[in-house]
Structure formats: C-alpha cells, structure tokens
C-alpha cells in the first residue's frame, strides 16, 4: 500500500540533515511552501544550500529561514526583490554565499538533474560575466555554454491537490518551479491545499506523477506571504 500522506509538517521535514541541498518552489509569493519552510525552521537543520528563484520576502518563509542562519548558500536567479531584506543584509556582510544563475538556465539545470542529464549546452549567458570560467563549445557556428544538472536532497513544494500516490495538480502561476523540483530531489516533500482520494485526479491532467513525490501533507488554509508581510509578521512568531 502506497500512502505518502503524513500528518504534520514537522514529520514531513524530519529527515532534512545539516548540509543538505534543498530546493524550494515559488516565484515571488506564488507557490512558496511557507508551512513546510516554517517547519524546517523549527527543525533547525543548518548549513543548507537552498535552490530557489528568489530569496524570500519580509521575515517569513524563505527569508525567515535565511534570517535564522540555516542557509550557507543560495542558488537563485533574482536575489533582490521589492520585499527582500534579510538576504541583502547577510550578503553585504559576506555571511551568505550566492550562486547567480539565469532563470531559464536555473529551470533547465533543475529539470536536467531530475531527468538524468548531467550537463547541457545553452546559448544563455554566452559572452557575459555569468559564463566566465565555464566550458564553451561551438556548434553550427554558434557559441554555447556548458551547464550542469542540479539535484537536491530534498525539495519543498506547494501544490493545490494531491492523492496518496503523490500525483499533483497546481494552482495557476503557483505551478512555476514545483514540477521540476519534485523531479530533481531525492525526496520531494509537498504541501497540498487538499488531499483527495485515489482516482479523483484525472490521469490526463496530472501535472506531477506520483513517482516524483515522496511525502505529502495537507495544509488546507496556507498562510498568505503577502498578508504576513503587510502585517510585518516574523517567524518564529513573536
């Protein structure tokens, strides 16, 4: 019997170890698995390498994880956004590492990691500072940069609907990095707004097949990061 559903967020993230690489879904506020991130803050794993498009907002979610000094290194495409305050401060003090990756290359590296492709050539970043020190190759008269697949020990992902096999549906633009991060992780940990009975998800519409998912937790009423930022909340709650 396959049942990937667990009962608490702390159980979902219990296996995360010090030094792990953790991918976190979301683009800005959309698709960020805030309850799982907060459970990881409670859990306390340190020296993490985090792969996520941004660096979090305000003092909740990913920003709070960074603020709690659990993150050694960020791999992302856009570390400064309107509400990003924690990462910039630590970065300027030299207290957190940054690997800056063009957004499409980041997505493709994650998808490649999940698809067993160790490396690929891309036109993106050719002749720019982000290609410095990287192998290049001329193919059909054009120059390309070699980029390596990215894998993770864990992914924390938010979705809309899940079943006990881990089949997933997403909500609108909150889909973003979720499907490829599930693919690229040894253990994909997913928070779903609803867990439905097996057979309730049409096989034609499954976005992430369960084979890519390891644990599912239902968070029926996830917090709104936007709302928490407006209210200037901080995690751990004080």
């Amino acid at each position: 019997m396959i049942n990937k559903v667990v009962q608490t967020a702390s159980e979902a993230v219990a296996d995360v170890f010090d030094g792990a690489t953790v991918m976190i879904s979301g683009f800005g506020e959309a698709g960020s698995p805030i309850e799982l991130i907060h459970a990881l803050i409670d859990h306390g794993a340190k020296n993490l390498t985090i792969v996520s498009n941004n660096t979090g907002n305000g003092h909740v979610g990913l920003a709070a994880l960074i603020g709690n000094r659990q993150v050694r290194k960020m791999i992302c495409s856009f570390p400064r956004t309107a509400h990003s305050v924690v990462f910039p401060e630590l970065y300027k003090k030299g207290e957190i590492e940054l690997e800056l990756v063009p957004q499409g290359t980041l997505a493709e590296r994650i998808r490649s990691g999940g698809a067993g492709i160790p490396a690929f050539y891309t036109p993106t970043s050719v002749n720019t500072p982000l290609a410095e020190g990287k192998e290049t190759k001329e193919i059909d008269g054009n120059l390309y940069v070699l980029e390596y697949g990215l894998k993770a020990d864990f992914s924390l992902v938010k979705c809309r609907t899940a079943d006990r096999h881990g089949n997933l549906l997403y909500n609108k633009t909150a889909r973003n990095f979720g499907p490829i991060m599930c693919m690229a992780a040894k253990a994909a940990i997913v928070q779903a707004k609803e867990v439905v009975d097996l057979g309730m998800i049409d096989p034609e519409t499954v976005v992430t097949p369960g084979i890519f998912v390891n644990k599912v937790i239902e968070i029926a009423n996830p917090l709104s990061e936007n709302q928490l930022i407006k209210e200037e909340r901080r995690y751990p709650w004080r």
Binding site: T173, F177, P179
Partner: protein
C-alpha cells in the same frame, strides 16, 4: 536644440510606437516596468498573446481591485488575469518557449545598447550591488525579435546608445530595434539606422545625444 528633447515622445507614446509595430498573432513577452505599458496599446483588431516567464501564456487585463489572487501574477509579481485560450506551465517549459525561439517579440529595458546590438540591462557592475539577472539573458538569446524601450539618455544626459557597453553584458549582438523617447532605431549588420524620429527631433541633435554612430536610411 534642447527644445527637441522636450518634444520627444512620452512613455505612453513610446509604448504606443512599439504596440503599433507588433503584428497580429504575435507571441510577446514584456519585461518588467516600462515594457508592461505596451500591452495597453495593442490595436483592438489584433490578437496578441502575452507570455510571462513564470508560467502563463495569454495574460489578460489587470484584475479589478479586490479580485487579485496571490497565485496569479506576472514576472513583475503583479496580479494578472488569464484570457480565453490561456495555458499554465512550469518553468522549464516556459523557458523552452523562450530559449527555443517560440516567442516572436520581447520588449526589454536597457542600461546600455551598443552599435552592434550588445545589451547591458541586468547589472551596473557596482561591487557592492547584489547581482540579479532573472530571465533577461534567456530572453535575449532565444526570442526572435528583441526590442528595447528606453529613454535615449540617462537623467544626467549620458548616452545609453554607445559604441561599446561599459556595463556587464546581458548578451552580444542581440538587440533588433530600439524605441527611445527621441527615435526608433534599427540595429543592423551595417550599424544603427534611424527609422523614425519624434516630432521636433532632428538628426544632428539625435546624433549628439548618441555615443554610437547613427545612419540614415
């Protein structure tokens, strides 16, 4: 001649100039900021599909106040809606559209554009600045027509269209056309050619505000 500058196009007119040149049926990606204005001026008899790299084709009008959805945003993290015929997809598929040459046009801002079409628009290279690149480098490499919308000079009058970019590059030989407040300029294999000037702008004045050499068709 200083009068000419003031007689240039304003932001809305610059966006209109671009919208006017986008053919019916195009797939278009708009960068964050001034490029977003272009969507407001597509002629009513044209159907243009807007792509946002965070995973949506078919962006519709901004939602009414109170109708915003945290999980329905564009690349600039602003609330959007979806038109009929829209599609959601994940990031790797979204950038397959970009890198794979499926988007017809993207409209981006710029710090500098060189006379051979190099673009610098992601970093001023200041040592203390936090670098952030997003999808700019993917867009300039993959999209069929890369269009720049920018003021012709910086606020202090420094030319943005230059012989060679001094800022870190986004890509080399990638820009196809530049829409400024003063002119519309094509980037060709033979150099920069002025396609159109704003009312009241003359060629000599335009060249003086431009570091790179301009040609007339």
């Amino acid at each position: 001649m200083e009068v000419a500058t003031k007689k240039g196009w304003n932001r809305e007119e610059m966006a209109q100039n671009i919208a006017h040149d986008i053919p019916d049926g195009s797939y278009v990606n708009l960068g964050i900021g001034m490029p977003e204005l272009v969507a407001n001026y597509i002629p009513a008899n044209r159907e243009v599909v807007f792509h946002t790299e965070n995973g949506l084709l078919g962006i519709g009008p901004s939602p009414a106040e109170g109708q915003e959805d945290d999980e329905m945003i564009n690349a600039g993290k602003k609330p959007v809606t979806a038109n009929k015929g829209a599609a959601f997809f994940h990031h790797a598929d979204s950038f397959a559209m970009i890198r794979g040459g499926h988007i017809d046009i993207c409209v981006l801002g710029a710090f500098q554009i060189s006379e051979n079409g190099d673009l610098a628009n992601w970093s001023t290279g200041e040592p203390k600045a936090i670098p952030a690149v997003g999808g700019a480098m993917d867009l300039v490499q993959g999209v069929k027509h890369v269009i720049i919308i920018t003021k012709h000079t910086t606020k202090d009058g420094t030319p943005k269209i230059v012989k060679e970019c001094s800022y870190p590059l986004t890509g080399t030989k990638v820009v196809d056309r530049i829409y400024t407040d003063l002119a519309i300029i094509d980037v060709t294999d033979k150099g920069l050619f002025v396609k159109e000037m704003a009312p009241g702008v003359d060629f000599e004045a335009l060249q003086r505000k431009t570091d790179a050499h301009l040609n007339q068709y």
